[in-house]
Symmetry: C2
Subunit: 205 residues, 2 copies
DNA sequence: CACTGTATATTTCCAGTGTAAATATAGATG
DNA sequence: CATCTATATTTACACTGGAAATATACAGTG
């Protein structure tokens, strides 16, 4: 988006790095036009190549969208991680992760929708699975030591992670689909913390 | 799907009740073919009318899908309500509602996906809002009296409802998008109760 | 019954989509 | 240089949702 303008240092292939350019253009289109405006032809046109060029790199529309979803997960994880790293203390880190999760969703609604829709993304894709797991791991990390009634089960740690993920994901999705609007003043800023139980920690730090 | 075969008692209009027939055919197609196979032309063909017939009743594809979503919410609410009515005691009723929510989603994944996707359903539609609210009310009902640390806030009741809804909805969505598969043995039956905190009740019954 | 109005449904056409197959291009390799 | 191969284009096709004009048949009125 910023280099290979005038210098034209190297142009290894016909375009250079079409694969990345297509993904970036796709995300750009997604953020501006929304999902309905995201077509292979529109993405190709934005980069300035023929409408069948994406197929060489992604195989199909689904492959292209999956690649966009992967990039989305990378950004999602990075965004959360950034907030977590800036916080100190278990409680603050937990809150930062959860708030980051929701804030990313609300800031990039279309990308978030694409990332979590099996209709667009191919969850059998290895890279996507790995990228999604990286996002999950941020939540998993901050859930270590969280204390509640199900934490002592044999699979307590997994339950804790799934509980937090479900809570935060459901909240984000329901807000995005406008389901909370009627019961909320009017698109008012409502924080995930306001509906998160105040869990204790087994080993307070 | 079952009557007006031989008797042909009355045929008030050209078709009789095309609007309902289209919705039912749409749901049928949705369950069998999934969302990608759900086109206006396919629905119309299933009923045996021209491909522009749906437009007279729903205006557009979005209108048609919204109507399907409304029917979905009706069934969703009825399914949950059925489980709640069969249970006795606050705890059992809570569990029945939440389990019903998830079970409906897992049993009708495509319909559930459509119901909660702003891409397909028009959430400005009055009937849809009302139908969605009916589903929400089932959760709201069973959340009355639930005791936790945020229940004493001025908007405690609303927080409780949103918390439960987020938890159950997120769990359903994440399961549907296959996100839990890697951390779960293998599509194993995992119950929402296993990640639901054991809340108390203010006024145990 | 005949006449008219109106809701319902069809026909025809169009711009747009994803995809497949054949072809062209240009860097890499010998 | 010649050849190979990854990259990109051209062309064609089946399919989609939607617009507009037309046909159909019921409802209401004389």
């Amino acid at each position: 988006m910023n280099d290979n303008q005038l210098p034209k240092v190297t142009k290894p292939y016909h375009h250079g790095d079409l694969k990345n350019a297509l993904v970036l253009a796709g995300i750009d289109l997604l953020e501006t036009q929304g999902l309905p405006g995201l077509s292979l032809r529109a993405i190709a046109a934005a980069v300035g190549v023929s409408h069948t060029a994406p197929k060489n790199h992604f195989g199909s529309l689904r492959g292209m969208l999956t690649a966009i979803g992967i990039e989305g997960f990378h950004r999602h994880a990075a965004f959360m991680r950034q907030g977590v790293d800036a916080a100190s203390g278990q409680k603050a880190r937990q809150q930062a992760a959860m708030e980051g999760y929701v804030r990313f969703a609300l800031t990039h609604p279309h990308l978030f929708e694409l990332m979590f829709s099996p209709l667009y993304c191919d969850y059998a894709n290895t890279d996507l699975k790995q990228a999604a797991k990286a996002s999950y791991c941020v939540l998993a990390d901050i859930s270590v030591g969280l204390d509640w009634d199900k934490a002592d089960a044999p699979d307590g740690q997994r339950r804790t992670e799934m509980m937090l993920w479900s809570l935060v994901h459901g909240y984000a999705k329901l807000r995005l689909s406008g389901q909370f609007s009627p019961s909320t003043p009017a698109g008012a800023a409502f924080d995930i913390a306001e509906i998160t139980p105040d869990f204790g920690y087994k080993d307070p730090q």
